[in-house]
Assembly symmetry: C2
Homo-oligomer: 416 residues x 2
């Protein structure tokens, strides 16, 4: 596990280059950097207190990154940031420090390249980023949703189902080597080909143990049909429940992409004991960017666990134009995947986000003891009255459910 | 109902007076105003797009406030802001425009004054603010939690239970007149004395119809035991379920204070059909301020309804010092109630907040059609798989519940 002593220097001190074009801003890198470079230190401190939950505006400590990891970041042009969350020391438990890594990236080749080259290109592109995580002492690493491929779940690239891999396929084998080499748990979200059940597809996260073994899998529970993201034409709702994986570095779970909009999904991972929930996603600016800083933080607060949010980067253009239900003309891309991966803590603090544009590795060190500290402080689990909601949901799912409505008896009386 | 034609001029254009004292900022009025006065217009636009969900950073329209309402605000020194949310026009339904008012206020007299004077002082203080809402065409008005009294739910003012009122008591009678006069639904959150059940206490919202009739009541479902807020020593968990009140101006519900930390509580009001959920609260900076912009907005997004968040203002000092579980020395106040009342919409937009320091009235006009528009766009209700969660919660509440944990079989193998 990582040691607290390594925290020395501040990383990620770049300032933003802000370009104004046609009256609007383009190319800014992250909200955090934008505010930091635009506000006075005192104002930035107060804004940080309110916006990212930092105690009296005190910034999260940064973690010193080893030279080899830094060189990889410079030579391969990916964003590298590392932070450490605060937690109290306890009297009866030792700290349980875990170092988590999140990777966000664009694809390597145009979508017109042969599929095998596209896939291999991504493997090659990710190699230095994964090495950088390994040499930085990352204990648990998570990749983005469907990381082996462009986000092809639109309506006209059905043959791209070829990208699907079985649980123990090429993508898992590629990552197992790194897991063994760096003693690192790796979460690998892929399009899964379920060979034992008629070769059907799932949107799945494979959890690889720190010895390179496959601990298990989780299949995406909630599938979007929003904007261009009509993913239900590619695979079905998952059948794996809400597993929590007990790894060498803590109890973790995976809430894939659109599942982040469902508070019950977050809740279920919490009830099963998760201390860190990863949310590998693929989402674009116009659709969801204002929700991005809200939902994950709310889940971390409400469920007293850490949430690690990952979003891919860049614009992917597809060979065949496609249409959606929103009335827009046919088009060949989803828009800009805005990156902005970040980590939220149960005490309502969060890290700054990675870039909106660049590949990146975000490292966060956390003491998992913080989860129970917040449970004891706020008591959400004890005050939750789950019986009431078990009863309500049990009634709600019946077709004859009657909502609890109290109508004003004077509803149709004319106003005086 | 309010008319869209009235939107003309911009209100609330004050800039912040920022004072820096001992290296930190005090006295700033709201995050929105602070950023607006500190950033260039282009930067502020982009920050607004990301932070308050405004489409391309386009500000919410402001509503013209009638002169008499403005005069009341100037003469009685309360903040007055008015905004209108965007919604699409539909082909088969007319817009259902509703104008909502939220009141936040400090108490009128010191807590050492006789109780009757304290209560009457608040009635007197609220009168011009309620009139201002009435003359501004507000259809539904909500007051803050336990509005008739200081927030006395600490551990040594038990005799202040005297502030409790029956549902049809003095506080309701006071508001019924305004409801009739202005054809306005009024939500009145009080400490309730339940005379028909042994004179016990509840934390209750009374819903008064626009004809002055009492439509019904809701009792706070979730009671905090956090920091100084050990309210469970004053009253018990509510027994009214999750009622939705069908009023002349739409289906509304009330999630009182600490209930905002419980996603299931928000969910239940949604399942019962709420289009606007009010959250009258009393909370202080050190405890919850970074959560304040997160939880209500998440609830609005996840449940496709509007959320109206109210928090009281100021520091209330109590006669007898009290202690809490946090190890701090005895003290006589909870800290600063930071106001900051605001409204969140299902499309993830929100209004700026009222002041952190001043009494205020926030008026928001919304087309309730936006709720279903967002349900149709995002499909959260259809993709929610409630059966799975009804089953999980049914099992969870049993003492023999076993969490779904997949342990790494190599968990105790030594690292390679």
């Amino acid at each position: 596990m990582a040691s607290k002593e390594e925290k020395i220097v501040a990383e990620g001190e770049q300032t933003d280059e802000i370009q104004i074009k046609d009256g609007s801003i383009c190319g800014f890198d992250s909200l955090h950097r934008l505010l930091q470079s635009s506000l006075s230190p005192q104002l930035f401190q107060e804004v940080s207190r309110l916006l990212i939950g930092l105690n009296c505006g005190r910034a999260l400590d940064t973690i010193a990154i080893p030279e080899p990891a830094k060189s990889l970041s410079l030579n391969h042009d990916f964003d590298l940031q590392a932070y450490s969350f605060h937690a109290e020391n306890e009297s009866l438990r030792k700290p349980r420090l875990v170092r988590v890594g999140l990777i966000q990236n664009s694809t390597a080749l145009p979508t017109t390249a042969p599929l095998l080259e596209q896939k291999r290109g991504i493997f090659q592109k990710l190699t230095p980023i994964i090495k950088s995580a390994g040499t930085s002492g990352v204990n648990i690493l998570c990749l983005q949703e469907a990381w082996t491929m462009p986000f092809a779940f639109c309506t006209r690239e059905k043959r791209w189902c070829e990208f699907a891999d079985p649980i123990d396929g090429e993508s898992t084998q590629f990552l197992q080597e790194f897991a063994r080499k760096y003693n690192m748990v790796i979460i690998s979200p892929i399009l899964e080909r379920d060979e034992n059940h008629g070769e059907v597809l799932w949107n799945t996260a494979v959890v690889i143990g720190n010895h390179g073994n496959i601990i298990g899998k989780h299949r995406k529970n909630h599938i979007p049909r929003v904007g261009d993201f009509n993913e239900s034409t590619y695979y079905m709702e998952g059948n794996t429940g809400h597993p929590v994986f007990e790894t060498a570095f803590g109890k973790i779970a995976v809430n894939i992409c659109y599942g982040r909009h469902h508070p019950l999904n977050w809740l279920a991972f919490g009830l099963n004991g998760a201390e860190i929930v990863f949310n590998p996603s693929a989402t674009v600016g116009e659709l969801s960017e204002p929700m991005w800083p809200i939902e994950a933080r709310n889940a971390a607060i409400a469920n007293s666990y850490f949430v690690c949010s990952i979003n891919r980067v860049g614009t992917e253009t597809f060979p065949n134009p496609f249409t959606s239900g929103d009335g827009k003309p046919q088009h060949t891309d989803f828009g800009h995947f805005y990156g902005s991966s970040y980590v939220s803590a149960p005490d309502s603090s969060c890290t700054p986000s990675l870039s909106r544009h660049k590949d990146g590795l975000l490292i966060s060190e956390m003491d998992l003891n913080l989860c129970r500290q917040l449970k004891d402080k706020w008591g959400f689990r004890m005050t939750a009255r789950y019986e009431m909601y078990a009863d309500l949901l049990g009634r709600y799912v019946r077709p004859d459910f009657e909502p609890q409505v109290v109508a004003d008896p004077l509803l149709h009386k004319k106003s005086l």
